[in-house]
């Protein structure tokens, strides 16, 4: 009899709780943080069922006195719910308004995640805040590299002039890299990328970003510059490997196959240089060697 009672108790404990019960745990200040975070993961399907539930979760997100782990879990839960666009429609207005409110939260991680969601929605409020922060670092809600990354979600975000200013006077190397990534969609920036790609004083990463940008903006220029880099034995291995990939994958087959000077050079590279260069040279030769 005792054994039977124990088994019943056990099965009750293991039985998954209802979404309603999870909602109750997730939004209760009396529960332990770990329990609440776990419960938040179970509520996305319920979050839009009633206005009362929605408001409770939004309140957790807004309330700066709540533990940050629970608030972040609430944000994640709302974000998951928002993927069901039609079902979430009734919650969308309050959700966006709350995100705007939380975008200036004292917690940096919260700000960054919220601004990320809003930026992907091309929200005018978020774009304005991010641009203001880049122009005036005292007002910045996120680091400049993050702001540039988020602004790149919307090509219409008027971020190009700011990004160019950052390239000229970068606050750090990451910000410069992100500014270049953002400008990779700006046709007017092709000369900047041409210059950086050929500049041996730049880091390999910056030069590789420049190569990728040129492929998008001015593919012919990338081919010209890649060829020049391959013919220059003093250039670095990483960028020569990138140039090999560019010429092998995107070069004009007819002109590359007739380019005996280039073929001779690359042929030598297949036995000299680093592993990446050798591999790239072998790929090139297998395509154009015969």
């Amino acid at each position: 009899m005792t054994t039977k009672r124990k088994a019943t108790k056990k099965s009750k404990a293991q039985r998954p709780r209802s979404a309603r019960a999870a909602m109750s745990v997730a939004t209760s200040e009396n529960q332990v943080v770990k329990e609440r975070v776990a419960a938040m993961a179970e509520v996305p399907l319920l979050v839009c069922e009633s206005d009362k539930d929605l408001q409770k979760v939004l309140e957790v997100l807004r309330n700066q006195d709540e533990p940050i782990e629970v608030r972040l879990a609430a944000l994640q839960s709302l974000q998951a719910a928002s993927f069901s666009v039609i079902a979430f429609e009734s919650c969308r207005g309050d959700y966006i308004a709350t995100l705007r409110k939380v975008a200036t939260d004292p917690n940096a991680e919260m700000r960054q995640r919220v601004l990320g969601i809003l930026a992907r929605e091309k929200d005018g409020f978020a774009i304005k805040k991010l641009l203001d922060g880049l122009k005036n670092p005292d007002k910045a809600l996120v680091p400049p590299e993050k702001a540039l990354q988020l602004l790149s979600y919307d090509i219409h975000a008027e971020a190009y002039p700011v990004a160019r200013a950052i390239i000229n006077k970068p606050p750090n190397e990451d910000a410069k890299r992100e500014a270049l990534r953002l400008l990779a969609a700006d046709a007017k920036s092709a000369p900047v990328f041409e210059k950086l790609l050929r500049d041996k004083n730049e880091t390999a990463e910056i030069r590789q970003v420049s190569a990728a940008a040129l492929q998008a903006l001015k593919p012919d220029s990338l081919q010209e510059n890649a060829r020049a880099i391959l013919l220059d034995d003093s250039d670095y291995d990483e960028i020569r490997a990138t140039s090999l990939t560019a010429v092998t994958q995107f070069g004009d087959e007819e002109s590359v196959s007739k380019d005996e000077t280039l073929k001779k050079h690359v042929s030598r590279m297949s036995t000299k240089g680093g592993a990446k260069v050798k591999r790239g040279a072998r790929q090139f030769m297998s395509k154009y060697g015969k």
């Binding site: 039609i86 429609e89 009734s90 969308r92 207005g93 919307d154 090509i155 219409h156 903006l217």
Partner: protein, 523 residues
């Protein structure tokens, strides 16, 4: 375009203040509508989000001071193609200050509800550029429903659509369902509709599409070079002159699916309609990008192909090689930029006549493909009528005169005497005609050589236009032989062959053009 150069440098706060000043003066209120033109310098070098704030504020101000027919055009455009919650909400509010509620407005409002209902975000018009971060504001769907309620009986035509939304499990949010109930009551309780539904009044319809009797010449852009989807260069004159065309504008980075993407998809439907009517060879189609610096040939090719556009020598996706500026000026395009990036544009379609002149315009709201095709056929008929009315002989003469003069120049060059003695011998032969008094003129030789080269170039152009290169090859061979005959001693005998080839090529070239014209006009 605004003549005031300083207006483009106004800060947003200064812009808001300018709008208030204009709104306060009844005599200046039409300036608010002027500021809604996309190509107004006020939008130069502004980001898209800034342009949204500015236009939204203008629409909101119009909702306070009243909406004219001219302003209604911009409002209906926003309802028809807008996807920004702030702009759509502002447009919905503005409709309610139009003095002539009409059933023709209801479908626009309903379409806007369908377009924006999944982006029903909170917006506020309390202050310029304000973003709502609580539930105190209004929303586009709320404003649109209020506008339908304002239309009352004029919105009866959309009752089934509203009922359908109400019946859907996630049709609208609970808050909006309350607004919807209120709207339904207002429409049902407003009595019978008084007018027939739902054609726009003639005067208003003409603001979205019109034909041009007096047409501007395309001379300023005739030599503008485009690159097509296959990297082939073609000038405006080469592609757009000779037969009518339908041209739409787009750019691949447009993020409004109701504008560029739909425009290019509809261009594909237009091509199908033209094919069905056997007119695919008589009316060209083109999609021209606003963003030629980014829209490289492979991008525009993919964009067109993914939307079902047929691409060949008569149907092309085009990018202006040296930038969009000259095209923008000529067509007076409704577009503005921040650097090379579009910050705002309207939907626009042009029908060009056989001279490349703008004959008809459809803009702002979605055009009906059949109407565009019908209008293009009218333009085609004009062309055929002109061709049949025009005296045939002079046209033929004009077209054939050039190769004949060119060929004669080649003949003259071939037989041009080398020295004054030869000249005297030639002229003594013609002495009976009294020509022996003409002095020896060595300067004639380079002139004739130039004329021969001009002939060669014109034959090449004609050969390219007709696709028959044989004439060009013959004339080229002829020219080379004539030049050789002048260079080498004892090679004079070759000149006859050169003349023969030049004459044959020139005659073939002239005949080719005449045959092509005849096929085009009577096809």
């Amino acid at each position: 375009m605004d003549p005031n150069p300083t207006i483009s440098s106004l800060s947003e706060a200064e812009f808001a203040s300018l709008v208030s000043t204009i709104a306060a003066d009844p005599a200046r209120r039409n300036e608010l509508t002027e500021l809604l033109h996309e190509d107004h310098s006020i939008y130069d070098e502004r980001g898209a989000a800034t342009a949204v704030r500015m236009r939204g504020w203008l629409l909101h101000t119009l909702s306070q001071v009243g909406v004219s027919d001219e302003a209604l055009v911009f409002i209906l455009e926003e309802l028809d193609t807008g996807t920004d919650p702030y702009l759509v909400a502002a447009a919905a509010r503005a409709v309610r200050s139009y003095s002539k509620p009409s059933s023709a407005l209801a479908p626009f409002v309903m379409r806007a509800i369908s377009n924006i209902r999944y982006r029903d975000e909170p917006v506020s018009f309390d202050e310029y550029g304000e973003y709502v971060d609580d539930s105190s504001g209004t929303s586009p769907v709320r404003e649109l429903l209020a506008t339908l309620a304002w239309l009352g009986s004029n919105a009866r035509v959309v009752l089934p659509d509203l009922e359908s939304i109400k019946a859907q499990p996630h049709g609208l949010s609970k808050k909006r369902l309350v607004d919807l109930e209120r709207t339904l009551e207002a429409i049902r309780g407003a009595g019978e509709e008084t007018e027939s539904c739902c054609e726009l009044p003639r005067g208003l319809k003409d603001k979205f599409s019109w034909g041009l009797k007096s047409r501007r010449s395309c001379d300023p852009i005739e030599s503008t070079v485009f690159e097509d989807q296959n990297n082939e260069a073609v000038t405006f004159g080469e592609f757009f002159c000779g037969q009518p065309s339908i041209a739409v504008f787009f750019y691949t980075r447009c993020d409004n699916p109701l504008k560029c993407s739909l425009t290019v998809t509809k261009l594909a439907r237009i091509q199908n309609l033209l094919s069905e009517r056997g007119l695919a060879n008589q009316i060209n189609t083109a999609a021209i990008t606003y963003d030629p610096e980014f829209d490289m040939p492979e991008r525009i090719r993919g964009y067109g192909q993914n939307r079902g556009v047929r691409l060949d020598s008569r149907n092309r996706m085009l990018r202006a090689q040296n930038g969009i500026e000259s095209i923008r000026r000529h067509f007076k395009l409704g577009v503005n930029f921040i650097e090379s990036l579009v910050n705002r544009h309207r939907v626009e379609v042009y029908i060009l006549d056989a001279k490349g002149q703008i004959a008809s315009v459809f803009e702002r709201i979605h055009w009906n493909e059949q109407e565009v095709v019908d209008r293009a056929i009218e333009v085609l008929n004009e062309t055929q009528q002109d061709a049949s009315e025009a005296p045939e002989k002079p046209v033929a003469n004009r077209k054939t005169s050039s190769p004949i003069f060119g060929a004669l120049a080649s003949v003259a060059l071939a037989f041009f005497p080398k020295c004054p003695i030869c000249w005297a011998a030639y002229l003594s032969f013609f002495g009976i005609a009294g020509l022996d008094r003409i002095p020896y003129s060595p300067w004639l030789q380079p002139m004739l050589a130039t004329a021969m080269l001009i002939n060669l170039a014109s034959v090449w152009l004609r050969a390219r236009a007709t696709g028959r290169m044989i004439a060009f090859y013959l004339v080229s061979a002829g020219a080379l032989i004539i030049i050789a005959s002048k260079l080498g001693n004892g090679w004079e005998g070759l000149a006859m062959w050169g003349v023969g080839l030049t004459l044959t090529g020139s005659v073939l070239s002239a005949l080719g053009v005449r045959r092509k014209r005849s096929v085009d006009v009577h096809a």
